[in-house]
């Protein structure tokens, strides 16, 4: 066992070394590019003034080198735009991409830990609205700029990506990530736009019959994927009446791996009577995070949902 660990460590070191080499070779070969991005970096001039999602103006004195991210969605974006190597602190919730597992955890269920955050000596903190006002104020008083990001729809995800790109000096990669997302969404919506809308119910959790109503990512995704969320008469997360569900009679039911047993759903009074169960159209999304997190991976969730709703369009 010990030997195995040693081997593993060696392997990891090797990978690390290799990736470093890869990076440096990149810089060498892409010399002309570098100058170009250098001129572009001039565009992001420090001190940089930005407005965050709370409408606060935040001044960032110099280009951040040590980033603390207090939301898994933000972390995903930071890695996606290629600034992942600057991340020095994340939360317990963070699990994507794989590398993030080795980053120190500075917050969790009970909110961010101010001490652990300061110990990482960050020069910028990306927070969310859930991050705890008092803690964020304490950190700001120590002179660490706090940027609050809270995207609640796909357009706002673009804004988040753009903002993070600007702050980290990776604007170009950020633009690229955004246009990839836009292309994917266009590709999917083009495929389904002329097909009839499929009435869909999303089950968050069977006990209590929780669903995702208007204003959630899931609602937005269902709409883009060529469906209609039958629970769009409630706002946000809600316990939905089974009576109403029977009356709306959805053609497709989508649920997540944590929502409860799929067989329970199929045999439950009320559910049993829906077209979705009768025609065996109850689907389980592969991963909750690709439909709930405000990151670029949301297009993966969109693609899965679109395939559930319109399998014929994706043959």
């Amino acid at each position: 066992m010990k030997r195995f660990k040693g081997l593993l460590a060696l392997f990891l070191v090797f990978i690390l070394a290799f990736s470093l080499v890869a990076c440096s070779t990149n810089t060498v070969t892409k010399q002309p590019d570098n100058t170009k991005s250098a001129t572009e970096a001039v565009k992001t001039q420090f001190p940089l003034k930005i407005t965050d999602f709370l409408g606060r103006e935040v001044t960032i004195v110099k280009a951040p080198q040590r980033i603390v991210s207090l939301a898994p969605s933000t972390t995903e974006i930071i890695y996606a735009i290629g600034a992942g190597d600057k991340v020095v602190g994340v939360t317990d919730y963070d699990n994507y991409p794989e590398q993030v597992k080795n980053v120190p955890k500075v917050g969790g269920f009970k909110g961010p830990n101010v001490e652990a955050i300061t110990a990482q000596k960050p020069d910028i903190i990306f927070a969310s609205k859930l991050s705890g006002k008092e803690q964020m104020e304490a950190l700001e008083k120590m002179g660490i700029p706090v940027v609050v990001l809270e995207a609640t729809n796909i357009d706002q995800i673009y804004q988040s990506i753009k903002l993070i790109g600007e702050i980290t000096g990776n604007d170009k990669k950020a633009e690229e990530v955004i246009s990839n997302m836009q292309n994917k969404i266009k590709e999917i919506s083009d495929k389904v736009k002329d097909l009839p809308k499929v009435s869909t119910f999303y089950l968050v959790s069977l006990d209590g019959n929780w669903t995702a109503g208007k204003g959630t990512f899931i609602d937005e995704l269902i709409n883009i994927a060529g469906g209609k969320n039958v629970a769009d008469d409630v706002n946000g997360w809600a316990q939905y009446s089974i009576e109403e569900l029977v009356k709306k009679n959805p053609d497709v039911i989508i649920t997540s791996p944590h929502a409860g047993n799929v067989n329970d759903i199929k045999t439950m009074a009320g559910y049993k009577e829906t077209n979705a169960v009768k025609n065996d159209k109850v689907f389980v999304i592969s991963d909750d995070n690709i439909i709930n997190r405000a990151s670029n991976r949301i297009v993966l969730g969109l693609e899965e949902i679109a395939k559930f709703l319109h399998p014929e369009a994706f043959k």
Partner: protein
């Protein structure tokens, strides 16, 4: 006096029937009264049939029986423990059930597994409390009360810790504890209705004995009541009924505490009348509470525990103030 009592019973019975009819005809989906009648006459659309027969009717029956069971148990426990603060949960049933439910939710055991774990863990908790409070063959009610509180506090701490470690399930656990009949089916009716009825009836047979115990355990012994037997029997059956109720509807607070008091204010402390009266009132109370839970914010449902506390609390205060004024005037 007898006539006045039977009047109260008749009135309560009519209110029960009325609230049952109201509850069948109202809900998230509006079904006109004519269509409701049609469904019962064997006509009517498929959707309406499903909504009324598979969803509303079992829900109505279960909420009525749970309301009855909790109120009857509450009445007996208040008498037995000679404590106005006593309710069916005081011996640790609620925290025990919540513990089982938390485990079931974390392990994702499904709906049936959840009910079963809640029931099992509630029974085990009460049995544990009972075992520590027993000295020889006697059970001290005071010790049991205190042990129940201590065990509840300990289990709550463990539940909180489990929620902390499984924060993705946090809201599911919290909302389970607030109760609700949203997913009740006929199977729940078949299990809970007979057991709650039989259990309540057996306890009722001992209402005279509990009357005697109310005057003190020693004097009850002198009157020829086997107090130890009565206590043990009522604790056992009462806990069974409570555990079953909780496993179906979650931890619905206030019913088992307040309905017995309301009933006592109306019909007096004689358990022979108080127990059935409080059972009927409990059924009415939960039927109406569930109705509110379904329609207030429709098509969204509100956990029924919120309704029982929000409506039960102020109403009870009103009765308290009124009965205080009454006694002052006298």
């Amino acid at each position: 006096m007898k006539i006045k009592k039977s009047l109260y019973f008749t009135a309560a019975f009519f209110i029960l029937v009325f609230s049952a009819i109201l509850s069948i005809s109202a809900g998230a989906v509006e079904i006109p009264l004519q269509d409701v009648l049609n469904v019962f006459l064997g006509k009517g659309t498929e959707i309406n049939k499903t909504i009324i027969f598979s969803l509303r009717l079992p829900r109505l029956i279960v909420s009525a029986f749970v309301g009855m069971g909790l109120s009857v148990v509450g009445t007996f426990f208040q008498g037995l423990l000679r404590n106005p603060m006593a309710d069916p949960y005081i011996l640790g049933v609620s925290s025990g059930a919540a513990f089982g439910a938390t485990i079931a939710i974390i392990l994702n055991l499904g709906i049936f597994g959840l009910s079963f774990m809640a029931f099992l863990s509630a029974i085990l908790t009460v049995f544990f409390v009972y075992t520590i409070s027993k000295t020889g063959t006697r059970v001290s009610m005071t010790t049991m009360l205190l042990a129940g509180i201590a065990v509840s506090a300990f289990i709550s701490a463990i539940i909180s810790l489990m929620m902390l470690l499984n924060h993705d399930q946090f809201s599911r656990i919290i909302f389970w504890t607030m109760g609700g009949f949203g997913l009740v089916t006929w199977n729940n009716v078949y299990v809970s209705a007979p057991i709650i009825t039989v259990g309540s009836f057996i306890m009722y047979l001992f209402s005279r004995d509990v009357n005697a115990i109310l005057t003190g355990e020693e004097s009850a012994e002198h009157l020829g009541v086997n107090t130890e037997f009565v206590k043990k029997l009522i604790l056992a059956i009462g806990s069974l009924v409570t555990a079953l109720s909780v496993s179906v509807g979650g931890i619905i607070g206030f019913v088992g505490l307040i309905v017995p008091h309301i009933a006592r204010l109306i019909i007096g402390p004689d358990n022979r009348y108080l127990v059935p009266f409080s059972g009927i009132l409990g059924a009415v109370f939960l039927i109406l509470a569930d109705l509110f839970a379904r329609v207030l914010l429709k098509p969204m449902e509100i956990p029924i525990g919120i309704i029982t506390a929000a409506f039960g609390g102020p109403f009870f205060l009103y009765l308290l103030v009124r009965s205080k004024q009454k006694s002052e005037r006298m």
